[in-house]
């Protein structure tokens, strides 16, 4: 056997967690961190308790309140979602019972699970991390193998410290060039999904690399990786670099002192070897990418903000899906997106609610007001983001522009029977899913970057943000 067989980053992560191969081509993989939230984590912890199995190592599991919790200022346990309090109290009881650290409703570290995990240094390069939540791939931005699972698999990970898993395919996604002003990681992600399809990454781990990725700050890298699940990918990865290490140093659960030095030495090896082999290669010239907006009910149905609704379905897709999407969205083939009147705008979610996202949106909103009659809401991704934004005065920019300024949480990224914008209302949103009724009953969601959402809120209709950037 050759000692120096070139390995991809995925190979390295896989091999360092391999407990044993199992018959049938599956492997038993060690899991370093389990993250939970009150929506699906509570079910997993209850299931585990009912089976009488203990959590193997509760110190490596964490839980937050993000999905159901209210985000209106001055919140308590009461939720607008019917029955929401039951999730909150069940989670509190189950985490206490299991000895798992909970970031409760009023905790200064509370927030959306994929926002707080990096903030607290819970995710680190080279780790495996799972969560019963599909956007766990966000955390691959740190060079960790992080992916979403179901509740039953979460029980498995908690009880055994492992998961049974087939090795994913590997896809290298090279982003060349440099993005233009007003173009973001969100626009790159929507461009890629539109090009390769909502199932284009099925069963794969996407490794993002190239100059356009290296140039991104950690917030942009997280946004890019966040959308990997919208390709049906298992997860995404970005090799850690100096920027990653700087960002993580000093975070609460990151190592310190000599252990930090040792860890850093190990993390510097976490890159694909030059000759590493991938199952597929994708590439995109970032220079060509424009601000994007979705027109349909799948993230693969997106176009440049100055373009029009496509005249026909995506090749190979059932015509019924295309027709249904147009009908649901109230649009016609060939209709331009720019100028489409909006009822509401939403800035938030694990895709785009970090401090950098709020700064970008605020730079568009500063000195401007949202269009009359439009409802606009900004929900920071974590209580820490909210604090830091307020320290910079960003909340004043949002409030002066006519936005609501909220407590941290998932909020109207999804509709659970509580708060929503209104039936059939048209919303521009910095979130990740434009599915039917995702944000409210028959709500028509157009996904875009925070800049595009902010600019469109000002214009009262879908608009290109670039002329509003100073």
């Amino acid at each position: 056997m050759s000692a120096a067989a070139p390995l991809s980053l995925l190979d390295k992560l896989w091999l360092s967690h391999l407990v044993r191969e199992l018959p049938g081509g599956t492997a038993l993989l060690a899991i370093d961190r389990v993250m939970l939230h009150e929506r699906t984590g509570s079910v997993a912890l209850r299931g585990l308790a009912a089976s009488g199995r203990p959590v193997l190592d509760p110190r490596r599991a964490f839980c937050t309140m993000d999905h159901v919790v209210d985000t209106r200022p001055g919140r308590g346990d009461a939720t607008l979602m019917p029955g929401g309090e039951a999730f909150i109290s069940a989670t509190r009881a189950a985490t206490r019972e299991a000895g798992i650290r909970l970031f409760d409703v009023d905790d200064p570290d509370q927030g959306i699970v994929h926002v707080i995990s990096p903030e607290l240094g819970i995710v680190l390069p080279g780790l495996t991390l799972v969560c019963p939540d599909s956007h766990t791939c966000t955390q691959g931005a740190f060079g960790a193998l992080a992916w979403g699972i179901g509740s039953t698999e979460a029980e498995h990970a908690l009880a055994t410290g492992t998961l049974r898993m087939r090795r994913p395919r590997s896809v290298r996604v090279t982003l060349t060039g440099a993005v233009g002003a007003g173009v973001t990681a969100k626009d790159l992600a929507l461009t890629l999904i539109t090009r390769y399809g909502a199932d284009g990454g099925s069963g794969a781990v996407l490794e993002f690399c190239g100059p356009a990725v290296t140039a991104m700050d950690m917030a942009q890298r997280m946004t890019l990786c966040n959308m990997a699940t919208e390709f049906a990918a298992v997860s995404a990865l970005i090799a850690p670099d100096e920027r990653t290490l700087d960002w993580l140093q000093g975070r609460r659960y990151a190592p310190v002192g000599e252990t930090w030095e040792r860890a850093v030495n190990a993390w510097r090896q976490l890159a694909s070897d030059p000759e590493a082999r991938f199952d597929a290669e994708w590439s995109l010239d970032a220079t060509e990418v424009a601000p994007m907006v979705t027109w349909g009910t799948s993230p693969e149905q997106a176009v440049a903000v100055h373009a029009a609704v496509p005249l026909e379905p995506r090749p190979g897709r059932p015509t019924e899906s295309y027709r249904r999407a147009l009908h649901y969205m109230g649009l016609q083939p060939g209709q331009p997106l720019a100028g489409l009147p909006l009822d509401a705008a939403f800035i938030g979610s694990c895709t785009n609610s970090r401090l950098e996202d709020l700064r970008s949106a605020a730079s568009v909103l500063r000195g401007r007001r949202i269009a009359p009659g439009l409802r606009a809401i900004c929900v920071p991704g974590s209580t820490r983001v909210r604090r830091e934004a307020e320290a910079e005065g960003l909340h004043e920019v949002f409030l002066a522009a006519g936005f609501e300024w909220r407590e941290a949480g998932c909020s109207m990224c999804f509709f659970a029977g509580g708060e929503h914008f209104g039936t059939r209302e048209r919303v521009i949103s910095s979130t990740n899913r434009n599915f039917e009724s995702r944000q409210g009953p028959a709500t028509r969601t157009h996904l875009a970057s925070p800049e595009t959402v902010a600019a469109s809120a000002v214009a009262g209709c879908i608009t290109d943000p670039r002329p509003l950037l100073n």
Binding site: P23, V43, S51
Partner: protein, 214 residues
């Protein structure tokens, strides 16, 4: 977990791409911290005339009288994409769906199926379309046979299509195995791995309260 070997039952066509888990069970229909009481919310946005209502939309396939006893779904690419909510599979299973036939599945959903005794069978689009054409014509009834031992879907008209499924998934479904029990048989190896790994990567192993530095 309920084992799956072979099933002959009514199959319904729902040939749409990217059917997401918000469609399969809208979040608003998940009202309790549990795995039950979800069947009524299955496909609620398509199955009922109004959001939140319960008046059936007669055009939706599962509401058509000939598909009332459906246990098998024939559907499009990337079925089960979106949210990881296992409630999607719990709702399907509680409704009575035991097998889903699609060209591809979203990975989390596919795993969730296997953990709950629901068979995710992969068949090329063209084969699904031909099965659907047969069912819609209804000449030989609305039933199909899904045989996991042979990895075949058989129509009443004699057509046979070989489907694909992950090897371990097939094995677990055939015996109705509990994955945690299977894994705990390797407890010694897991312990040995952890002992080694604590030396190699000490930063992974947190100390609880002691890590709570500001």
């Amino acid at each position: 977990m309920q084992a799956f070997t072979q099933l002959t039952a009514v199959a319904a066509p729902l040939f749409r791409a990217n059917v997401d888990t918000d469609i399969i069970i809208p979040s608003r229909e998940i009202r309790g911290v549990g795995k039950q009481g979800l069947a009524e919310g299955l496909f609620a946005g398509w199955r009922y005339r109004e959001i939140g209502g319960r008046e059936p939309d007669p055009d939706f396939v599962l509401n058509r009288p000939e598909f009332r006893e459906t246990k098998i779904l024939l559907t499009g690419e990337n079925f089960g994409c979106g949210s990881s909510r296992e409630h999607a599979v719990w709702a399907l299973a509680e409704y009575g769906i035991r097998a889903i036939i699609a060209p591809s599945f979203a990975p989390i959903f596919e795993n969730n199926c296997v953990r709950n005794g629901v068979l995710p069978a992969r068949l090329p689009s063209a084969a699904i379309e031909s099965l659907i054409a047969g069912l819609e014509a209804g000449r030989t009834g609305r039933e199909l046979t899904v045989d996991l031992e042979a990895c075949e879907v058989r129509g009443a008209d004699g057509c046979i299509h070989a489907f694909s499924i992950d090897k371990e998934a097939r094995q677990m479904l055939l015996v109705g195995a509990d994955a945690i029990d299977l894994t705990l048989r390797h407890r010694d190896e897991i312990e040995a791995f952890l002992d080694r790994d604590r030396q190699l990567r000490p930063w992974v192993y947190l100390q609880g309260e002691r890590d709570e530095r500001p």
